[in-house]
Symmetry: C2
DNA sequence: TTGAAAGCGCTAACAC
DNA sequence: GTGTTAGCGCTTTCAA
């Protein structure tokens, strides 16, 4: 049924090797031979069997991308960037969702499902520093984010502390004095939540402002609902608020909604800034100030580094030392912190 | 380097076949043998080579999902549902982005990149009925959406005309008399835009309301910016509007923003309804009424049908006739059409 | 410049 | 219950 190299060779009256040479556009094929073979390929509609090629050559042209959930806008935009960048480099992307489940994240790394993948870009959300040993795998791996540092693999990360600090500084400059922060994780001292909280507090400290635990909104996840709920609890507690730093845009948008429901005007009464610079922040009402985490740069770096590792491995070279790549960020002021 | 069945067999002192039987949890293996083999598997850290399995068995356990862009919220949510459903059935998902480019969509179907995929779920946005011949492929294929009907493959679709009609009826019931529709494609008589426009017009006709072309907002794409731009043009033209049907939620949210910028109150002055029931419609201000297109049902049906086709094919059965599956929709009233 | 042939790791007849 | 073995389609030495 499927057309194989052999069929093409037979049709063209040449050997398998010659057909293979033509398919791979290698030199050392006489033009006349190439034409004949190409004609046979077209007539028969030959398409290479990638499983066979992959078995033989040890590379499939597929890279894995493991993330919590694609429907979360940040990860959707990240996945888009990774897919686009991978395509650029001749790779396709297979997506694994972990649902931010610790067990799923741990199993993922040993999953046979990744076996036809040349390498993995992994954005953990539940693993912690103590799981660093799990990252010791026998395939190229690039991790993203703030869960694990100094692992045995390349790592692409942004400076969360500095970026969060910049967000809170932006609110301070806009005149806020009672700044709530939404998205903290109770009792956690690592991961994005802890780092962004630290940046927030550094900004307060530097400005000589008191830290007030009543202004810290703790949440379980970073979805819209969590942001709205945390904001409502804060408002219900009666604490005074004139600025809100949402640790990501969905939290900030949930909080924004809760503020408006409570009859508070944004930005007149309360100013709000988020984090991620999602496309939708440009269209909400008011538009949402945010921190652009350099998503494109993260995706581009991760894919580039992974592909380099894949090629290094295939060439049998001694692996270069693992590196950490820090990408840049940028505060994007919009209406929600204006005036 | 990589541990193979042979290595495990050697270590356990049995044959390759027995190891294979254990791996596949087949019967006819003595418990004691199974234990020895399992121990060898664990010790050596054996993981099956999926390329080899795939080459041999003709199935990779991977299904392709081709869509315009995952960063568009509707497709992000669809991808999430497809991945979740596929995982349920033991498959992983490889994503191809077409960018809604006609050339990319056409090439995709013949792309060798799909070769290590067992089948494809394809959501075209640029193909049209005249491309129906391209859908004649030699692998299992399920198409989604409104671009092509009566193709040579299974097709999952919702009743766009009825759903759009329901949306406009909802506005009429809320008292709207001058209803704009945002998202039409100039000169197109097929695809979602044309079908939803027809549903909208049917609702007007049934209510004895005039069709007014000045109330039709034409756009290029269905992004937020397009919705905002179209709404601004409509308002600038001076035409009176008291209701807006956005052909999808992002268009509607863009339009919402433009209305608010123009000082019009929603829902008091103008009521707005979208289409897709994105998660974010529950958190915007005001929350956005929408039409739930049964995304989960679409994903579930598409994956189920595709997997059935894959198995049918593997079993060498005569293919059952191709079918069209129509999923259900539901109007979801929220604040933007209240009152 | 082209051909012959080995073998990547696995599955599934078919033997025993 | 378990072992032997022939390929799946391809890449790649090695020879010619």
């Amino acid at each position: 049924m499927a057309v194989t190299l052999r069929d093409v060779a037979q049709r063209a009256g040449v050997s398998i090797k010659t057909v293979s040479n033509v398919v791979h556009k290698r030199q050392y094929v006489k033009d006349s031979t190439r034409d004949i073979v190409q004609a046979a390929i077209d007539e028969l509609g030959y398409r290479p069997n990638l499983s066979a090629r992959s078995l033989r050559s040890g590379r499939s042209g597929v890279i894995g991308l493991a993330l919590p959930e694609v429907r979360l806008p940040y990860f959707a935009e990240l996945a888009d960037s990774v897919i686009t960048e991978a395509k650029q480099r001749g790779h396709t992307v297979l997506i694994e969702q972990t649902g931010a489940e610790p067990a799923a994240e741990r199993e993922l790394l040993r999953s046979p499902r990744l076996q036809l993948t040349d390498g993995l870009i992994f954005s953990p959300l539940a693993l912690s520093q103590s799981d660093v040993g799990l990252l010791e795998v026998d395939y190229p791996l690039v991790t993203l984010g703030e869960r694990i540092f100094d692992g045995p693999c390349d790592h692409v990360v942004m400076d969360n502390v500095a970026a969060a600090r910049a967000a809170t500084e932006h609110l301070l400059e806009a005149g806020c004095r009672r700044i709530a922060v939404i998205g903290a994780h109770e009792g956690e001292d690592q991961g994005s939540a802890a780092l962004r909280l630290r940046g927030h507090q550094e900004a307060l400290d530097a400005a000589g402002m008191p830290r007030d635990d009543r202004l810290v909104g703790y949440v379980g996840l970073w979805h819209r609902q969590d942001g709205a709920d945390a904001m409502r609890r804060l408002l219900a507690s009666g604490v005074e608020v004139d600025g809100v730093f949402g640790m990501n845009d969905t939290l900030a948008l949930g909080a924004l909604r809760a503020l408006q429901d409570a009859g508070l005007a944004v930005p007149e009464g309360v100013k709000v800034i988020g984090f991620d610079d999602l496309e939708e922040t440009r269209y909400t009402s008011p538009t949402l100030s945010s921190v652009d985490p350099g998503r494109m740069e993260i995706a581009r770096t991760a894919v580039r580094v992974l592909v380099e590792r894949i090629e290094e491995r295939l060439a049998g070279e001694t692996p270069a030392p693992r590196r950490q790549y820090t990408t840049s960020y940028r505060v994007v002021p919009r209406e929600s912190t204006a005036g």
